[in-house]
Symmetry: C2
Subunit: 690 residues, 2 copies
């Protein structure tokens, strides 16, 4: 049973007071949910979760995701109370320049924050990803342990709000969590019926509990709104919530959903249960009145009773003790499993094993060649035994994206394995369903959880469906790899809805995302190498549906140049080019043919392959100048997409072989010809630029 003392109750009320004070000091922010979720958050951090405030990165810790990131105080105040290093001064600096308490929790910025949240719905997907990663890691390190007996067993808790529940990504991630039978996941839904537009009934009447039951989750309701909210009937039954959480823990074959019915901003006498309490300071009078109701001095701010903080901080000692006990179990495991221990150490720092790159395939020159998506499959197959940390899959396009490592089992409860995809709970191939956004958020959760390296595929054009999650991967600097195939009008018959045009430029716009579009099979291998060697950012691979000639590297430069983003693939005969053709992906072949023709007409022509602008711009100026000398103004970019991201390199004299309109439904060959992606057109543009 729950041990819940008067000091616990007072600590919870202190949370409410601090939340009001912090928002009041900042002049803006979100007090309401921090007030009403105070008991739930304190319960988790003080009584339920296994965590050690002195070591926020403890591998054995339970994870906490605040999907409703706007209620960052819900987390910050617990981090302060538990002793993660946040001070009252930090709370008082809420939402200020350079503070540890930004408006939304930021991963890598504040100790104890597991994930950057704020864009709604994402946290649910992140939590699902963490829960999946926990199982995958257990499978890698300690598969034979009894349930609950492994140092790699732990739980993932998440809070979410009405906004999270309304977002589509919640649907995608939650539906998949059920298939994955994530018994280590508990999602607590703060059902307060208030959002920014006040009463949610204006836009929401779903029965969220029934919806989660329809997914197959274990669903419970804890109703604190015991009576008429207008009359202030409210009973914060912490014991009932605790029981529900314990029940959720005991259900190990399904994720758990707890509908917690609260009154936002409770017990603020005038603003509780209103949209006003959601996203604005309550105002001095309301804060004072609320403090009085709670038995606090209305004239004091950021006042914390010494007894309260001392009591709350005991969680730190308990955490250290749990950590020490866990350490014994971890050490025992390490002693018995030296190889697994070595792997775990390596993965914990995302260090690649010595000599791993030797496994990368080399592709012989071949005029017919293969699609870069097929080359990517060969790379994955080759890396499978060398990099156990690498795993991933597709949003229902496995055969199209070529994302399945040959022979590897699927990551799927055995009962859901199929003839096409045999697998088990510790498998490797991921099946996201037709849920790109969920996939993006789940990949982030996996990367956040530990040292594995997840990848996920769909058609390049559908990167739009997962863009909010990709942006967050870049913002959080997560090493996720996107395998986005069918990267141009070369997709062919499926037509303009499926043909990316603007997509490459739009992805290059995302700060912190590397976009790599290899020209042939060997560039694809080097692209994967570059992606995996970067551990501080996501990488997008843009791969062709159609076959691409495998360039003869005995004639042309080594594909190793990929790592520098752009490189001289073929020098001008004179060694001093008059025109430079800059191509990516499937268009590089046309640059090489055009070079021959231009040289034949007497124009010294250089071909630069530039699979990754971001990597190129990271090179020193001397290298950039060597590849693209300032003096050579005649430049032609050749890419089956809009020119926007090439303007920087083209200057005023430059010309682009690009497509500035939507594609069409027809065979790829027809489209490339109709839309001018031919050597002839490259020659024409080169002559125009000269």
């Amino acid at each position: 049973a729950l041990n819940w003392s008067d000091l616990d109750r007072k600590a919870v009320d202190t949370v409410r007071v601090l939340a009001m004070d912090a928002v009041e000091k900042a002049g803006n922010g979100h007090p309401g949910t921090a007030m009403s979720l105070a008991p739930a958050a304190y319960l988790l951090f003080n009584k339920v979760m296994r965590h050690d405030p002195t070591d926020p990165n403890w591998v054995g810790r339970d994870r906490f995701v605040l999907s409703c990131g706007h209620s960052s105080l819900t987390l910050y105040i617990q981090l302060y109370l538990a002793g993660y290093g946040l001070s009252l001064d930090d709370l008082a600096a809420l939402r200020q320049w350079d503070s540890l308490t930004p408006g939304h929790p930021e991963y890598g910025h504040t100790p104890g924050v597991e994930v950057t949240t704020g864009p709604l719905g994402q946290g649910i997907g992140n939590a699902v990803g963490m829960a999946m990663a926990a199982r995958r890691e257990r499978g890698l390190f300690d598969p034979a342990a009894e349930p609950g007996a492994s140092p790699f067993d732990h739980h993932v808790y998440a809070f979410c709000s009405d906004g999270d529940i309304e977002e589509g990504v919640s649907h995608e991630a939650s539906a998949l969590a059920s298939v994955q039978k994530l018994g280590n996941l508990t999602l607590i839904y703060d059902d307060n019926e208030i959002s920014i537009e006040d009463d949610t009934r204006i836009a929401k009447n779903e029965d969220a509990g029934a919806r989660y039951a329809a997914y197959g989750w274990h669903v419970q309701t804890v109703d604190w709104r015991t009576g008429d909210p207008a009359k202030g009937d409210y009973h914060e039954d912490v014991e009932a919530l605790h029981q529900a959480i314990m029940e959720a823990q005991s259900v190990t074959d399904r994720p758990s959903f707890i509908v917690l019915r609260t009154i936002i901003g409770w017990p603020a006498p005038n603003k509780q249960n209103t949209g006003k309490a959601h996203g604005s300071a309550l105002g001095a009078d309301e804060v004072a009145a609320t403090k009085t109701i709670l038995g606090f001095d209305p004239n004091e701010t950021f006042a914390v009773d010494a007894e309260v903080i001392e009591h709350a901080r005991q969680v730190s000692a308990r955490g250290a003790q749990a950590h020490a006990e866990w350490q014994k179990s971890y050490d025992a495991w390490a002693g018995a499993n030296p190889d697994a221990k070595k792997l775990h150490d390596r993965m914990a720092t995302r260090t690649l094993p010595d000599g791993w790159a030797a496994a990368l395939p080399e592709f012989p020159a071949d005029a017919k060649g293969i699609a870069s998506r097929a080359a990517s499959a060969k790379v994955l197959e080759a890396l499978a035994p060398v990099l156990p940390e690498l795993w991933g899959g597709s949003a229902d396009l496995a055969e199209s994206n070529n994302t399945t490592m040959k022979g590897e089992p699927s990551f799927i409860p055995s009962e859901y394995a199929t003839k096409s995809f045999p697998g088990n709970e510790y498998g490797r191939t991921l099946h996201f369903g037709i849920r790109e956004h969920g996939m993006g958020a789940i990949l982030n959760g996996i990367a956040l959880h530990g040292g594995t390296r997840p990848y996920g595929g769909t058609f390049l054009v559908f990167s739009d469906y997962m863009r909010p999650a990709v942006r967050l991967a870049a913002l959080m600097k997560l090493p996720v790899t996107y395998v986005w195939t069918h990267d141009s009008i070369g997709l062919g018959e499926d037509g303009p809805t499926h043909q990316p045009i603007e997509t490459l430029s739009a992805l290059r716009a995302i700060v912190g995302l590397d976009v790599v579009r290899p020209a042939d099979a060997n560039e694809t291998a080097w692209a994967w190498r570059g992606a995996l060697e970067h551990t501080d950012r996501p990488t997008a691979l843009a791969l062709s549906r159609q076959g691409l000639p495998t360039i003869d590297r005995s004639t042309y430069a080594s594909a190793e140049g990929v790592l520098r983003g752009g490189y001289i693939l073929s020098e001008a005969s004179s060694g001093t080019p008059e025109v430079i053709l800059i191509g990516t992906g499937s268009e590089v072949q046309h640059c090489l043919t055009a070079q021959e023709r231009l040289e034949a007409q007497g124009t010294p022509t250089r071909v630069v392959s530039m699979p990754c602008q971001e990597w190129f711009f990271e090179q020193d100026t001397a290298y950039q100048q060597r590849v693209l000398p300032r003096g050579v103004k005649a430049r032609v970019s050749v890419e089956a997409g809009i020119r926007m991201s090439w303007d920087r390199l083209l200057g005023e004299a430059g010309e682009a072989v690009s497509i500035e309109h939507y594609g069409a439904s027809a065979p790829a060959k027809t489209l490339f010809e109709q839309f001018g992606f031919t050597a002839d057109n490259v020659v024409a543009k080169a002559n125009a630029a000269l």
Copy 2:
């Protein structure tokens, strides 16, 4: 009861045969669903829907949305059978260059196609939007009519697949459809348990019917998988489906969801019920075997029995008759409601009323000024009585986006109206909930339905959440207006998750979308004018959270220049600038201050306000040259975003005042200063460019 003859049965089998033939001829495509949905599609087009193949744009028609657009043959073959003008030759040209039968249905390309579909889930949102629009239009034109008695009453039918159901946007749109009590909407879910990765259980175990019941929909199941599919037990009980559709029609207070359990590719002997039948040609042998099973000559292709086509085409005569009867009712309405008739005529062509623009507010010069989002609110308020076709709302950010027309009722069933938002079923203000993607798809559906002009708001950064729908709006050339506020780091304390950096460039990348970022209140009014005057494209308004000085137009040029995209706001003292400062939105004020300082230092400086690049590039070269003379190489772009979309105008000598990293959580003023959005920095960059 349903009249279902042998000829109907044979027509359905003919559909299957044509679907196989068309894909076989193309060499690729999606035969399976076209085969298994053949009875359902034929039932709708031949027995259920009110439509007139001789007039695909008949206002009184029922609407059909094929959300599973990959199964385009499901629609094309019905259009052929019903007599919309598609021929067997067109079917034989499936997925070929310049054909009427592209891989996915394309709006505006093939008569009878109501909407471009293919990106999964969108069609559900489009159908919801159409159903909402139908009610809004009824409210505008004929609110007093009894239910079902108005010429504006009709039904919306949609087919969707597993992929649609898995996508998050299905959740968002469907949850809202329930709140809106869309009794005029029937969604038929083709539950065949097969997707590209074969058996869907690898990634899907939700009970979709229960999920829709949790939303509050009316849910029925029609199970044609009567026994063991392995044994070929299958019973296409068309009568049962018809009854379910009739039942759905009779339930007028809720949208209806019909789970139709089918076997994909039935009755192909070897490939039915497999992923192979989904997205590939069946192969000659399998096609021949299937034809034999169906009693067709395996040696014939595209063979249609004269009796069958004659029978099917009778729908055309019935449609013409229904149209004629409807016309009587319409004419009676028109006679009794001449003003409404005039409005309807005007809206049908999206013609703006004479003199409408006189209603647009003019804002006096004001150093303090107002936020452009607040100016937008004034514009909406002023337009409300003048443009009844204009309606819209926000994804739960009404007060932040300022999207509510003052005093206008919400579009909401009365029982869900709230104190904050009174309204009724014919109201005007839309409440999308925290569902940006659903909003985007619904706005498209509204625009597709008829002449109203919908708008929808959220924070600019969250345009990412709805980007797939925005792309489709651009592809379909739909006049939707996006009100995206909080358009930069000027959003302030909410921090980097909420601050757009790359967003403006990434939106400019979308072909066919106009992005307008006005500099002050008057530019905002002209921006709305430009948006509304374009009826062939979507427009994005990027509006500030923070106050912007209202520029003194007696000193500076008229804001009318907005319509030309970019204009000389302030000429150099000499009339011949040495440097040009090009600003947008909140940064234009710094250009004007910088101009004063540069002029003081003796540098003739021009300030160009460029709220919309797309409109600027539509101007003739002479105008573009007048504003940005080729000879003036010293140019500085000033925009609180990345520079990518400015490179084109900057040339090699140009400089950008931009931000190439994520923002931070702090007051806006601090951020602008820390990140260099100051007149001082503009001066410094100008000197660097000179």
